[in-house]
Amino acid sequence: MSSKKVLNSSFRDPSGFIFSENSVLYRQINNSYSNDYGLLMGSGLYKELVDKNLLISHKEVEISKALDTSLAYKVIQPDLVPFISYPYEWSFSMLKDAALATLEIQKTALKQGVILKDASAYNIQFINAKPILIDTLSFEKYEEGVPWVAYQQFCRHFLAPLSLMSFVNIEFGKLSKLYMDGIPLDLASKILPLSTRLNPGILMHVHLHAQSQTKHANDASKQEKNLEINRGVSKVGMLSIIDSLQSTIEKLAWKLPNTEWGDYYSITNYTDDAMQKKENQVEELILASKAKSVWDMGANSGRFSRLASKHGISTVAFDIDPVAVELNYLSCKKNKEENLLPLIQDLTNPSGDIGFANSERDSLLNRGLVDTVLALALIHHLAISNNLPFDKIARFFAACGEYLIIEFVPKSDSQVKILLASRKDIFDNYTFEGFEKAFGEIYDIEQKKPIQNSDRILYLMKRKNNNVDFEN
């Protein structure tokens, strides 16, 4: 009985698909794609893109590994992505860099007579904080005259959300959760302010593009039109469109506002010395857990996440605040950091299973398990601000990973006093005893360290049960 399983999201492209066998990921290339694959490899394009770190590298394996041998031309094994993330979890600059990478790949390909046949944001993943194309079968032979078939997809997946985030509100990055194939251009056009019609790139690629789509939506008689269309865009015309998209996106910016979290580390309780001691304690606990992977929950701009990533531990830094995630990403870029992936995530409403049959894009929990979860300066936001009982919080963290490093912030702490300032204190159970008792049902408490200059305590816990999903 074969343990080969096709990935739920890999079904649209007849050129091939991704499947797994015994936890190893393979891509089957079908016979129909043989010429284009030969072109990709033989023209030098593959090598050029891999050298520039724009395309995931792969090795060819025996064809007997194919899932469907009647269709198979080749089977390849691509390098692994440490953590799969989705465009609605990326900060502004992450989406912008993913867009620019796609255009760079397109320009490089066109020099070799090759073109991208799709331009989905889901084809880009981040490795060591750099965007990289993971769909090796995105390429096909370029026929001069034919317009870019993926132009609409590029505008929906990249230009529309970026312009909404830049000109209206950063929260529009989350709109792509609702539209599996990018944001509809007529919707984006309606939401964008009128002043964007003075921006030539936005005018052309969003507003007029949307109008053209509406105008031709019901065109049934295509035969004569096809002749004209497939001669309509010369190579230099194509390059000028790509160039226009590139300069339009390069000019899109997001002015970082002052949110309550942006200035976080300058308004906390700690002296420099105490902060350094806390960092040392957290680092010790991370190493004690022997983690090879870490999720830092409520990571802010990643100060403590780096205590893991600097040891070569694959680390994801989640935070609800787009400003914090943006600052974290920009820092990763500037310092060429490795092993760290900043992402936007609301822990009270994390990414869910979406797409067809609710199984194309995975929920946060379905992208676990991780070795160690970090929950520093977080418990009071979940338990008090969000009224979550301790046992629910414990079970959620246990469903994420095996070890938990958590900081309990008591009511005597000034941060909790702020949270309770404007509301009735109904949290009788919010004490050290209540916390240890509730978490003690799910975890074994292995270490307990008080934090200097505060009433807070740091814990290292190990999950009791190995088969935990949230419902258990």
Binding site: S15, P147, V149, Q152, S212, A217, G232, L239, S240
Partner: protein, 74 residues
């Protein structure tokens, strides 16, 4: 007659193209590209031309030195 045959042949050839394009490009999106390409090609070509001119002028002093060296070695 010849016109009809040649249109048929062009069509027959074109139908075979973009065989792997599995996504729907959208007629409206194709049409707007034709218009955009028409409007943008001029600006793009100018950009390239300006780039080449700049490149030409930054290369020039080196060329002159090379020429002088060649003259003096004759």
């Amino acid at each position: 007659m010849i016109e009809k045959i040649s249109i048929f042949l062009i069509f027959a050839v074109l139908v075979g193209r973009t065989a792997h394009a599995y996504i729907d490009p959208g007629t409206g999106s194709m049409m707007i590209q034709i218009i955009s390409a028409f409007l943008l090609t001029g600006i793009f070509t100018m950009k390239l031309w300006v780039k080449n001119v700049k490149h030409f002028f930054t290369k020039k002093p080196k060329d002159t030195i090379n020429n002088e060296q060649q003259e003096s070695s004759k």
